[in-house]
């Protein structure tokens, strides 16, 4: 069954994808962006899982002596296990960065951070690797 109703799952996936991307772009809060990214990644995971389903298919275990078993494709599920792990790692890294950014800037809102950066740049130029300046948190004080 094709057409709008038959492909409802794909429409859902697209909707999730768009929601995720929208959040990444439109939301200022860094943590929310990560969440948006997660939603985006989830949509792709769901896409693969949707691929795997075979109409009328059963679990991919072939009982002894059976012939002509129609089973759903296990491979995309396996791939998605990996992808989920990747997603988790990315989220963890992203949130760790959020924590450090919070400590360094005192805020997790992108517009405030950009404003602070612009002010810093105006004040003392784009010193990428100079000695730490006053509004930086000295590295020794960053908790482990």
């Amino acid at each position: 069954m094709t057409g709008l109703l038959g492909l409802w799952h794909y429409w859902m996936i697209i909707a999730l994808m768009m929601v995720g991307l929208y959040i990444v772009i439109a939301r200022d809060n860094l943590v929310k962006k990560i969440m948006g990214l997660n939603i985006f990644q989830t949509s792709v995971i769901l896409f693969y899982v949707a691929l795997a389903k075979v109409e009328g298919g059963t679990a991919p275990i072939i009982p002894e002596g059976a012939e002509h078993v129609v089973y759903s494709n296990p491979l995309p599920h396996v791939l998605m296990l990996t992808a989920i792990v990747v997603g988790v790692a990315t989220t963890a890294l992203g949130l760790a960065l959020c924590v450090r950014i919070q400590e360094a800037y005192g805020s997790n809102e992108e517009d405030e951070i950009v404003r602070m950066d612009v002010e810093g740049l105006a004040r003392r130029g784009d010193r990428a690797e100079s000695a730490p300046h006053a509004d930086d948190v000295p590295p020794e004080e960053v908790p482990a």
């Binding site: 991307l21 990444v24 860094l30 962006k33 990214l37 985006f40 990644q41 792709v44 896409f47 693969y48 691929l51 995309p76 791939l79 990996t82 992808a83 990747v86 790692a89 990315t90 890294l93 992203g94 960065l97 959020c98 450090r100 950014i101 360094a104 800037y105 951070i113 950066d117 130029g125 784009d126 010193r127 990428a128 690797e129 100079s130 000695a131 730490p132 300046h133 930086d136 948190v137 590295p139 020794e140 960053v142």
Partner: protein, 492 residues
């Protein structure tokens, strides 16, 4: 043992990373990491020699045959890149991570090395694998470790740079994942060789065009093709200089290789350029990158940011070479991949030397450095000449191929554009040379000594390579040309 070399190429650095975490003591870790890097170089060199000798190597991971199992496939094209990545790693690691402007405290440096080794193994994995999903996995391994590496830079802007890099990079990676999924949906296979065989039947379907689109956009993000280059300037500027050197020399190059594989091997040039007309998009984007990147570089006040924008321009050259879809064009792109790695890696190491002594990468603070750090600055001059494309340097070799390719296709305006944009490189290289040699040092600065030998040697190895390979091109242009021929022939 030797038949497992393809697997070892990836496994050795990957296993070495947790060993670094266990070893803890910085000196021991550094020595260990350097040894691991050198061993990967030895493996890569052996693989290249074998491939040049006896043709493509196919390795079944775990003994499972393709297309069901994951295959590691070493051809001339990726052996070349393996050697490149491992050489850069071997030169950059002894330089020392974290000594140049990182915020990692001394007793935590081992984590930096671990991340670095993971990054290397990821890059090598992307290059060597013959399975499309495996590419995604290793791509994410690389990306995650590079986000971590970038965030180790000094100052808080490194954190935001890493964050933006993370967001954009993950979107890119996910697009690639989506593209792979769509391809899998239509062909039922993930193996590159198999895909190239099965794709022609389903080529016409809309799904494949969408798959191609997603893969392209994802790869463009990873490759920092204009206008998806936004993450690069900040990431290269605020990362520790050695990390910038390494990333500039390897990360985008590997993504370029994947692009070439997707375009030429999986989809095939006839489809990509003939039916989809990728060159009509890629040529203008490349030209925009070349000019935009160079012009942006001219106005920078920070040397690292200048080099970052210059990298965007140089990536434009590489993609331009690819979009010519000719032997000279693709050779030019591949040889520029190598040459740019040498040049930019060397130049960023020069920056690392200077920041080690001077603690600043602002152009203004570099005034008069020519007298106080003559050997380091001489390296900069040579690297700069290479960027411009003066004959006897590697930059000239790349330009030669690219302009030849343009002339051969009667694209005379493009040829002129390539040469004009190298003039822009003269301007921004000149800007730094003038500051360094012709301006008096700033008042009241501390006396600055020359960089230590342990830093000068790796720097000069890379910079010296830009001259050496400008004269003896058999190993670069010769191999690149064979690789290009192989890719263009569509033989997987």
């Amino acid at each position: 043992m030797t038949e497992h070399l393809p697997a070892l190429q990836v496994v050795v650095p990957m296993l070495a990373a947790p060993v670094c975490v266990l070893l803890r003591r910085t000196q021991a870790v550094k020595v260990f990491a350097v040894l691991v890097a050198w061993s990967t170089l030895a493996i890569a060199g052996t693989l290249l020699a074998t491939v040049l000798d006896s043709g493509t190597i196919s390795y079944k991971m775990g003994g499972w045959a393709a297309p069901a199992g994951i295959e590691y496939r070493v051809t001339i094209a990726n052996a070349y890149i393996l050697v490149l990545v491992t050489s850069v790693a071997s030169v950059v690691l002894p330089f020392g991570l974290g000594s140049a402007g990182s915020s990692v405290p001394q007793d935590r440096k081992y984590l930096l090395f671990a991340a670095f080794l993971l990054c290397i193994s990821g890059l090598l994995g992307i290059t060597i694998t013959g399975d499309a999903f495996n590419v995604f996995v290793f791509l994410e391994v690389t990306s995650l470790s590079s986000y971590a590496l970038v965030s180790m830079g000094h100052g808080r802007r490194a954190l935001m740079a890493a964050y933006s890099y993370l967001i954009l990079g993950t979107i890119g990676g996910t697009f690639i994942l989506l593209g792979v999924g769509l391809m899998y949906q239509m062909t039922g296979t993930l193996n590159v060789v198999d895909l190239s065989e099965r794709l022609p039947e389903v080529m016409a379907s809309r799904t494949m065009i969408v798959a191609f689109g997603f893969m392209m956009v994802g790869l463009f993000i990873k490759l920092a093709v204009f206008p998806l280059h936004q993450w690069l300037p900040n990431a290269y500027t605020y990362a520790p200089s050695t990390v910038s050197a390494f990333l500039a020399a390897t990360a985008t190059k590997v993504s370029y290789y994947v692009l070439a594989r997707v375009v030429f091997t999986i989809f095939g040039a006839a489809y990509v350029f003939g039916e989809l007309g990728l060159d009509r998009i890629l040529i203008p984007l490349s030209l925009a990158a070349m000019f935009g990147g160079s012009v942006a570089a001219i106005y920078q006040t920070n040397v690292k940011r200048l080099l970052a924008y210059s990298s965007i321009a140089q990536i434009g050259y590489m993609t331009l070479g690819l979009s010519f879809n000719s032997l000279d064009g693709l050779t030019g792109g591949l040889v520029h991949l190598f040459n740019h790695a040498m040049m930019k890696g060397g130049l960023f190491l020069v920056v690392a030397c200077v920041t080690y002594r001077l603690n600043s990468s602002m152009v203004d603070d570099w005034r008069g450095l020519g007298r106080r750090m003559p050997i380091t600055m001489a390296a900069f001059v040579v690297g700069g000449l290479s960027l411009i494309g003066v004959p006897t340097t590697v930059g000239f070799v790349s330009k030669w191929y690219l302009v030849s390719a343009a002339v051969q296709q009667d694209k005379l305006v493009v040829a002129g554009a390539i040469l004009l944009s190298s003039l822009l490189a003269v301007v921004y290289v000149w800007k730094i040379i003038e500051t360094v040699y012709f301006k008096a040092p700033p008042e009241g600065g501390d006396p600055v000594a020359e960089a230590p030998m342990s830093m000068l040697i790796p720097t000069w190895i890379l910079i010296g390579a830009t001259i050496y390979f400008g004269l003896h091109t058999a190993l670069t242009a010769g191999v690149a040309s064979k690789a290009a021929a192989l890719l263009l022939s569509g033989v997987p």
